[in-house]
Symmetry: C2
Subunit: 578 residues, 2 copies
């Protein structure tokens, strides 16, 4: 695996790719500027920090990342997680808060890089689809509520939904009229841009792709118009909160002050942010790569995102990851290589150097409106319904995640989701499906006697265990076999069909031996059929075959033919089970 994917794609770089990448970079930059400012605000940080987090990380990702079109930078969920983590250790608005956010970015980068080098990308698989989906929906709701304060112009400090709602209710009568008008108009405008502008543009002759990309300029238009309005009518003197003076220039890249006890405190949050950011980024990357028949390499992605976050920490930014809407825009705008990201970074850097005075009169309500409209599209109610229909366990895991995120917080939510998913998985394994099987007449195929019309033998009982035979279910399986022995007398043989026994551990081995002994004491031989190769290899290591009173058959049909004297190849008659 190449450690520096840039060495691959740079070889075939040419004029045509350069012009495509340049167009994409301009479009992404226009989109990224308001997003950077808004997500910095969501993270509780000064707006310029959002710009800083959109410069070096993009360059680092271009060097180390494996996706051709992923656009990294501040994203909503990670910014929310940053706010939740950092406000545990520092007060918003203090230099300590900023320092902790920068350290969090650095830590997150080191963790991602470490996981990548250890090829531990599989850890992201701990997050099931319903947990991720629930987590994102709940985070989106939490973000939308947390941003309402800016739209209303009132103070709200809560970090969970009940606290936020409580604060909103307490201060609702302090709502600032001009702020609400600006915020409300922005939200309405942005929603219209999302749903109404694109069809309009197509109607007037733009291609669907062009129209789609152009409609992503909504936030920028809102920013320009509202900034102009505030500055013209001095609305900030009527209580409209504005971004204010942003220092011109760029921070000198530097290692943040390393406070080890603070780092230890932030470590769990950094880990969760890393995993969530990785999952979000990889799912975007997968989606886009699949469209062009490209592939992303999860472990290389970890290294790319790790480098991006380390760069963010060194460059005075906060945790970043690949953003969904931004990457789609990059893709649709025609980006061919990560060089588009480098060019975006240069343009953001120029913005930070020369254009920040333009943002002085930008109302915070508009930034909040862009966040609210962006995140509400992440709430996926259909997914909740679909999971409910498909699997109650998955639904419970999903709802646990949602309720915990809203009621307690993002970190607790993600942990609760993982723990509930794993518990259900263990519970599933602990209660395996177990069936008496018989032959489908006229075939060599054996199925569950309770579900299919099959032929069974009085003397040779055939059963199937639909699970790995493991410590979690060994005793349950043994009990099930014992119960069968009580109801089936006159048996001479018991055959266990092992097609679904994907693994046997030491506890499972004990159970097989105990069943073998018990059957032996009752004069019944114990056979296995269709044991999988890897499982058989393992049983062979301890000489299991030597203890087994019966045989191990390659196919179950072979077993039944060998054991049941009534059986004739493909045409034996046995009593059908009801």
């Amino acid at each position: 695996m190449p450690r520096l994917p840039i060495l691959e794609w740079i070889k075939t770089y040419n004029q045509s790719k350069l012009s495509d990448d340049t167009v994409a970079a301009v479009i992404v930059t226009i989109m990224l500027i308001p997003q950077s400012l808004a997500y910095a605000m969501l993270a509780g940080l000064p707006p310029e920090v959002g710009l800083y987090a959109s410069i070096l990380p993009l360059v680092a990702y271009a060097l180390f990342g494996s996706s051709m079109t992923l656009a990294v930078g501040p994203v909503a969920v990670v910014s929310l997680m940053t706010a939740a983590a950092v406000s545990q250790v520092a007060t918003q608005g203090t230099p300590e808060y900023l320092g902790a956010a920068i350290l969090l970015g650095l830590l997150s980068g080191v963790i991602l890089m470490g996981l990548g080098l250890a090829r531990a990308g599989f850890l992201a698989n701990l997050l099931s689809h319903p947990v991720i989906s629930g987590f994102i929906s709940a985070s989106a709701i939490l973000i939308a509520f947390s941003q309402l304060k800016h739209v209303l112009g009132i103070p709200v400090n809560g970090h969970d939904l009940p606290a936020i709602i409580d604060d909103l209710a307490t201060h609702i009568q302090e709502t600032n009229g001009p702020t609400l008008i600006i915020g409300g108009l922005s939200i309405a405008f942005l929603f219209w841009v999302r749903s109404g502008l694109k069809p309009l543009l197509i109607q007037i002759g733009l291609s669907s792709g062009m129209a789609s990309t152009a409609s992503k300029a909504g936030p920028v238009i809102a920013v320009i118009l509202s900034t102009a309005a505030v500055s013209l009518f001095a609305l900030n003197q009527f209580g409209v909160s504005i971004v204010g003076v942003i220092p011109n220039g760029l921070p000198t890249p530097a290692l943040p002050a390393l406070d080890w006890s603070l780092a230890r405190e932030l470590l769990p949050a950094a880990f969760l942010i890393s995993i969530v950011g990785f999952v979000e980024s990889v799912s975007v990357g997968h989606t886009l790569a699949a469209r062009r028949r490209e592939r992303i390499q999860p472990n290389q992605e970890l290294i790319g995102l790790g480098a991006a976050n380390i760069a963010s920490g060194l460059g005075g930014g906060f945790p970043v990851t690949g953003g969904f809407s931004r990457s789609v825009v990059n893709f649709d705008a025609g980006a061919r290589t990560p060089l588009a990201g480098v060019m975006t970074a240069v343009m953001i850097a120029l913005t930070a150097l020369f254009l920040t005075p333009l943002f002085e009169f930008l109302p915070k309500a508009v930034l909040a409106a862009t966040v609210i409209v962006a995140v509400l599209s992440l709430v996926d109610l259909k997914a909740i319904h679909r999971v409910w229909v498909f699997s109650k366990s998955d639904f419970i895991a999903m709802m646990t995640t949602i309720v915990t995120v809203l009621g307690i917080g993002v970190e607790a939510g993600i942990i609760a989701g993982i723990l509930v998913s794993i518990s259900f998985l263990l519970a599933k394994i602990a209660r395996p499906h177990f069936a008496v099987i018989g032959q489908i007449p006229g075939t060599q195929h054996f199925r569950n006697a309770d579900r299919h019309q099959v032929l069974t033998s009085e003397k040779v009982l055939a059963v199937r265990l639909d699970e790995m035979l493991y410590f979690l279910n060994g005793h349950t399986f043994e009990d099930a076999v014992n119960q069968l022995l009580n109801t089936n007398k006159n048996l001479t043989d018991l055959v266990l069909l092992c097609t679904a026994i994907n693994e046997i551990d030491a506890s499972g081995l004990e159970v097989l031996e105990s069943i073998n002994e018990r059957l032996d004491s009752q004069g019944i031989r114990f056979h296995l059929s269709e044991v999988k190769g890897p499982v058989m290899d393992r049983l062979d290591r301890v000489g299991f075959k030597a203890h087994l009173t019966g045989q191990i058959f390659l196919s179950h049909y072979e077993a039944m033919c060998a054991l049941d004297p009534d059986c004739e190849s493909n045409g034996h008659v046995r009593s059908a089970r009801p």
Copy 2:
């Protein structure tokens, strides 16, 4: 399920059972007296507490337990766990220490009872066989080392092996000669009784069972001889530590002082003690019940042990459970019903009332010797080797348990064992076995093309996934399928044989749909074969069949016959894979 098993067995109680039970009760009492004193000492408690823990619990178990022959009382591992837990919250020798131990018994009883009523006995399945075996071996080593101080007559306070060894090394030169002689002789005698006495008794004409039971009297003989020697020669004046004056009488059953904050502190330990005690007890109960074709009911056992521990707490005792050697003696001595336990309880009560002066000069070194000899038989090195051969994952779980118990403590050890086992289980599921399959010539049976000489088709690729399709492995499976598509061109169909897919969760469903889409975009139809009933039910709920580009076949043979034009029933020819 009967809540009071006594109501069942008491109906058929008769003279013959009474005389059998009485004999067993006498023999168990003789064995239990020194054990009770010794395990109380191991738990850091006054010796009489061991007697108290051997009275009411036996009566309570007789009422509620489901095993006919299990003998409950103080046992080595649970006593060690009690010492570890209680010494966290109180200093040995203080009334607070005793109070905490009694409270621990009560808590443990409430937990066991609660688990039983909630039918949560399956929780014990979290402990894999290798973890239990490792835990018991390591605890035995820890116990043996912790008791060496009594044999040497030196002070040792450590609770983990390094600390104990450190203390032993520091104080070894303070060894008390007479104590060492008594302790050493006792150990030698007890080992000889275990290995040498039984053959001797058989030689002089006793039956094997009688000889075996008689050889269990070793500790009592050692106790009598050593007590006599100490009292005759006043060895206690030469530094031999003795049990001392034990108060005559019995405590009035009472609810211990309920200190809620202490209870909360002891709760995790009480939970672990409950689980370990339950596992130990159930495995003894299973073994004995199987010998007589009886059955024990795990959830009823929880209630029985819960009642026993609540009774222990109320009667001034500490946590108890079913002991292995004692139950075997009870069984071999011919106990037929739990009434044997009630009679044992009465005899222990009489002992506590009238015989305690006899124990005044009993040297602690002898009690320690009985503990050491008893626990060393629990160290199972063969099991370690067997697990090593069978499964490296199980071996690592076992060694983690052993090392953690010895190095950190019993509670940490059991938790580490569970966590490592679960991690390996998750890792196994995350890396499923996946195979391209083909037909075994002349059969309707399909196996791994890498392991068997099989027939495969150029156009119809058949694969088998050997695992539930779950959030842990969905992406891995998808990657594996994609990789296959890159190496197999010209495919028209892909058939997934689902015999080993025991469950599909919402994440797995997404993966199936994503594979279906990807195949569709390449003009390849996607089919499933031999989908298990419960899995098919679930797929039907979301109308999966409607999206699937291909079909779902009852048997894989049927699928291949339907899809492959070259196939003729039972005799088609295809290129064999190397």
